[in-house]
């Protein structure tokens, strides 16, 4: 088995999930210059809600193919997360729209903690396993193994990224989002209701986060009330790596981070002569974050200084 190819595949799969979550961070930052630290928890809620629906359906003995049951879970999680994202913005961030920048940032961290605790109260502290309802097959590719679930993750992520890009670049709503990102006052003079655009941005980003949450829990076969924390931090690192506020940057940053992490985990033992093992893989995201912040704070695709009108 070709280890390099295998690590690349694993990295791209993980990276595409990071990319989906990173899109939510970057969309909100692009418009509000706010880091929505609760976004990782929205992702976690997506996984939890889907799993609750899936286990309820399985428990009731519903006679449907596994893929359909998983899909029903996903289709419940998406609107649930959209509602959650909308509510977070309305209740926690909108009242602070004109407050000093530190206030919404601290609030974001607070919302994140509150959501973790709510999830813990509802679903408990234990790991929840993702039942084996998805196809468990695998294929051989360039001497490496790619599973059906991995293919599913790659395809779903790609579809979402293309769809979001088209939405932002080609539609009236996308234009309004970009206009609001450049200047909410100016967009208002065109008749754009900035609050509506901001709500829709949270709703879209949260819907994508729901999908990411379900995909990642299907991949690892697990969900947990705390899973949004690390996932969110990594996705945030990915957004910074690509250039926060830049959609293409979030996608590139996510994929790159996934690959770096996967290669790093694969070779860290060799590099350090066995001193550090692959359990140090989580370190890479933050290593990358620190390097980017030192060397190129605007990220790979970000503009060195932003030109707000």
């Amino acid at each position: 088995m070709d280890i390099l190819v295998q690590q690349l595949i694993n990295g791209l799969v993980l990276g595409s999930v990071y990319a989906l979550v990173a899109l939510g961070y970057t969309m909100v930052y692009g418009i509000l210059e706010l880091i929505n630290f609760a976004h990782g928890e929205v992702t976690m809620f997506g996984a939890m809600v889907a799993l609750a629906v899936i286990s309820a359906l399985l428990g009731a003995g519903v006679d449907l193919p596994g893929v359909v049951i998983a899909l029903l879970g996903l289709l419940t999680a998406i609107p649930a997360c959209m509602l959650l994202g909308y509510g977070i913005e309305r209740l926690a961030y909108r009242p602070l729209r004109h407050a000093p920048r530190l206030a919404p940032l601290i609030t974001a961290i607070g919302v994140s903690i509150v959501l973790q605790n709510i999830a813990m109260l509802i679903w408990g502290r234990q790991y929840i396993s993702f039942p084996p309802i998805l196809p468990q097959g695998y294929h051989t590719l360039l001497g490496a193994r790619i599973t059906d679930v991995q293919i599913l993750i790659l395809v779903a992520s790609l579809v979402l990224m293309v769809a979001l890009t088209l939405l932002v670049q080609r539609t009236q709503l996308g234009r309004a989002m970009r206009a609001t990102a450049q200047s909410p006052q100016l967009a208002g003079l065109m008749g754009v209701d900035a609050n509506r655009v901001i709500s829709l941005t949270f709703i879209i980003g949260s819907g994508i986060a729901a999908v990411a949450g379900v995909l990642v829990s299907a991949y690892y076969g697990l969900a947990h009330y705390y899973m949004g924390f690390l996932l969110g931090l990594k996705a945030f690192s990915a957004a910074v790596l690509g250039g926060v506020g830049n959609l293409a940057g979030a996608m590139l940053g996510g994929l790159l981070l996934g690959v770096i992490e996967s290669l790093g985990a694969g070779y860290i033992g060799d590099i350090t002569g066995g001193f550090l093992g692959s359990n140090y893989q989580d370190v890479f995201a933050f290593f990358v974050l620190i390097i980017v912040l030192i060397v190129r704070p605007s990220g790979l695709l970000g503009k060195p200084s932003h030109d707000r009108a």
């Binding site: 234009r175 970009r178 003079l189 008749g191 030109d307 009108a309």
Partner: protein, 237 residues
């Protein structure tokens, strides 16, 4: 003629600064009115308050018989007031075409909009040639033409302009006033803020002179252009 816009005792305050103080003015349907005043007189504050960009501290703004003082900008645009802001306000990172599309944001008749945008490209070939380029790459004058045409795409009944000729070469200034003349011919009323008093008075029916947040004089534009004190204060003669 009935008043299209009636500003009554409007007051705009920034902390300790009274930018607009109990100011009243009117613009009739299809009328061209200019507002002339020195730096810091409060002209921009007045236009922003009318357009709903900043809150006011008293007074009323009636538009087409309706009180609009409590509305915000995005609610006022569909009623028929569009502001071309100071410094043009182009979406620099968006293409020329997208800027124009933003101007028609509130409209549903997109097929008609497309025809109107084509007509703009015909009339201003420089905009047509650069329709897919970022608007930030246009010259200052071209950006101003873009901003005015973008505003007209919202089909305003009243167009507010904040110093459209500022910093532009004479040829460009001419093109801009020609554009305004055409818009006026189509029935648009105009409230024009200018520091260039000569130019503004020559293109207006009526004029208001503003200083320290208040109107100091108003009347027929042609008559005010002959007024000695105004010539002295604003023409540097």
């Amino acid at each position: 003629m009935s008043d299209l816009l009636a500003v009554n005792k409007l007051r705009v305050v920034y902390g300790q600064i009274h930018a607009v103080q109990d100011l009243s003015l009117t613009v009739a349907e299809h009328e061209r009115v200019c507002l002339i005043g020195a730096n810091g007189a409060g002209k921009t504050s007045l236009l922003k308050a009318i357009a709903g960009m900043i809150p006011h501290r008293g007074g009323s703004v009636q538009f087409a018989g309706r009180n609009i003082a409590h509305l915000s900008a995005h609610q006022i645009v569909p009623l028929g007031i569009t502001l071309v802001p100071e410094g043009r306000g182009i979406f620099t990172r968006m293409s020329v075409a997208e800027n124009l599309a933003m101007g028609a944001y509130i409209r549903r008749d997109k097929a008609v909009v497309a025809v109107e945008i084509d007509a703009i490209y015909q009339h201003y070939p420089r905009l047509g040639e650069r329709r897919h380029q970022p608007a930030g790459q246009l010259s200052g004058g071209e950006q101003q033409l873009l901003a005015i045409n973008r505003a007209l795409l919202s089909r305003p009944r009243l167009l507010l302009l904040d110093e459209p000729s500022m910093g532009l070469a004479p040829l460009m200034v001419k093109a801009i006033f020609e554009t305004l003349r055409l818009a006026h011919q189509q029935g648009v009323a105009i409230l024009l803020v200018e520091q260039n008093a000569h130019l503004a008075l020559a293109h207006s029916d009526r004029a208001y002179i503003m200083a320290n947040g208040q109107i100091t004089q108003h009347g027929n534009a042609a008559e005010l252009a002959q007024d000695r004190s105004i010539q002295h204060a604003y023409f540097g003669e």
